[in-house]
Amino acid sequence: MKHSLVIKTFSNPLAFAGFVIISIILLLALFAPYLAPYDPDAIDVKAILVSPSSMHLMGTDGLGRDVFSRMLLGARISLLVGIVAVGIATLIGVVLGAISGYYRGWVDVVIMRLVDVMLSIPTFFLILAVIAFLTPSIWNIMIVIGLTSWMGVTRLVRAEFLSLRGREFVMASQTLGAKDARLIFRHLLPNSLTPIIVSSVLGIASAVLIESGLSFLGLGVQAPQASWGNILTDGKEYIQFAWWLSLFPGLAILITVLGYNLLGEGLRDALDPRSSGNASNK
């Protein structure tokens, strides 16, 4: 079952492209310190705002720092923030969704109203408001993004649990006297895993976008630590003289988010019997 999902996903060229993109970026981020040609924080006053050349692949910024090296280190930050934030959101979402879908009743009502409340506060306002009361740092950003993006997973897990509970194998297990914990961890959760993974992959894409937006506004990852978003802040300042400062970080964000979205949608298509049915109709 798992095996066929992988084959189905990778036979979709777009999903495979997404997988390749993400793998390359993860490898670049992992080996960033070895790949970076310069110290990303080294200031070189003799090479300020140098345009891209063989010496500086992506040029230098307003302090003469090598943009390519900063981009590589920035990849680490973006991916780290994305993955940790989604980890937090998924954990909260799975726990609340499981409780809601398994126990139903008033707990379900309370949790679902909480989801409605969170969804009716404009997300970016909510994130910025929290940051206004805390100090912006990479850890706070992860936590804030995580705490404000669990609602989708909660609804998803709840819906999965609700539909799985009515299935014969679950009822059989329950009739045989299985306890709540066994039902949840042995039957319901493993069978909800694939949609959770899909939503996490798509979640990383949006977390990367949010982080870069926050850092761009100066409320995310703080200088001198490089992030794609805060390189773009410099890009805005020097937009009349240094196009490379804006172009490369933006492209990097675009490609990364595209990669996660392609893979996520590919997985979803492979899971959805209806859409694969359509594909075979053509």
Binding site: R113, V117, F133, L134, I253, N261
Partner: protein, 339 residues
């Protein structure tokens, strides 16, 4: 219909209470209390003025009382005065002791953001609708593939980067459009028509940005909605009785595919309002987003809390309008046949 409306209004009450709780929690996130944060940004703040702040925010009272007072402020839409900006009223105009009327900050910013969002919604519908229909009718053929690729890129493109690139292209390279503010210098001397035209030119880029970033989702939604409908029996019936393909698609399919779009447009409101922060601060448009961003930077808490609450209330009103429009358009919803 009235019964439906009342039911929907009644459902908003627990949501509003929830919003007040969440925002109250956020207010108490700051380490220490907000007066210490405020003071740390302003070394001149004396113990005396801190005490005054504590009194204004009732921080000296028990938490339950504080929450009660916060709820009262929310219900009466009284968000006090700004810490910065000459202590202007946050929400609506107020008279000071001399009888001068000071305009409210949100009062001035809100119409601008609403205008941008309404214009970009119109842009989104005008482009996303045909794209989605073309995509669905040509399912898995080249036009669909091209539009799907466009949608994926639209999902992945950071709005602020697109804004920077467009700003560079139209403002720096070509000087076609103004890249900041809402009026040109000396625009007061133009006639009213000239002033409107001048403002529209200033709004072009921000509207384009928030429209383009919202486009992808809506066109994908229209495509999937159309595909669902096109596989229904009544479409086969329509084709079988010999109606032209255009009649089938535009009269029978599209109308039903459009219904859920009303809800989706309602749901996209918080994203649009939230997204205004980036677009407005890049283009220096004095709307809610810019106001909020500046307030966050200056730790102007009354303004932050005021906008957070008004933004959420707007979202609720938007969703309510969407639901009412849906019920008006689809009798099945009104009569409770489908949810």
């Amino acid at each position: 219909m009235i019964k439906y409306l009342l039911k929907r209004l009644f459902w908003m009450v627990p949501l509003l209470i929830g919003i007040s709780l969440v925002s109250f929690l956020i207010m108490h996130l700051a380490p220490g209390d907000i007066t210490t944060t405020e003071a740390s940004f302003n070394p001149k703040a004396s113990e005396e003025s801190r005490q005054k702040l504590r009194e204004i925010y009732n921080l000296d009272k028990p938490v339950i009382v504080q929450y009660g007072l916060w709820l009262k402020r929310m219900v009466t839409l009284d968000f006090g005065r700004s810490f910065a900006s000459h202590q202007r009223p946050v929400f609506w105009q107020k008279k000071d002791e001399q009888g001068n009327i000071a305009k409210g900050m949100i009062q001035q910013a809100l119409p601008i953001t609403l205008l941008i969002n309404v214009l970009s919604l119109i842009l989104i519908i005008a482009i996303a609708l045909p794209l989605g229909v073309i995509s669905a009718v040509n399912q898995n053929r080249p036009p669909d593939r091209a539009i799907t690729l466009f949608v994926f890129i639209g999902f992945a493109i950071p709005g602020f980067w697109l804004a920077l690139m467009l700003m560079y292209w139209t403002g720096v390279v070509h000087d076609w459009l103004p890249i900041s503010g809402l009026h040109s210098l000396g625009s007061e001397k133009m006639g009213w028509l000239g002033q409107i035209f001048d403002s529209l030119k200033h709004l072009a880029l921000p509207v384009l940005i928030s429209g383009l970033t919202g486009l992808a989702g809506i066109s994908l939604f229209v495509r999937n909605g159309m595909l669902d409908v096109l596989h229904q029996d009544y479409i086969t019936t329509a084709r079988a009785k010999g109606l032209s393909e255009n009649t089938v698609i535009y009269r029978h399919a599209l109308r039903n595919a459009l219904l859920p779009l009303i809800t989706i447009l309602g749901l996209s409101i918080p994203g649009l309002i939230g997204g205004s922060v980036i677009a407005e601060s890049i283009f220096a448009i004095p709307g809610m987003g810019k106001l909020f961003y500046d307030a966050v930077l200056m730790r102007d808490f009354p303004v932050v809390m005021g906008i957070l609450t008004i933004g959420s209330a707007l979202t609720l009103v938007g969703n309510l309008l969407a639901d009412v429009a849906y019920a008006w358009a689809d009798p099945r919803v009104r009569r409770g046949v489908i949810q």
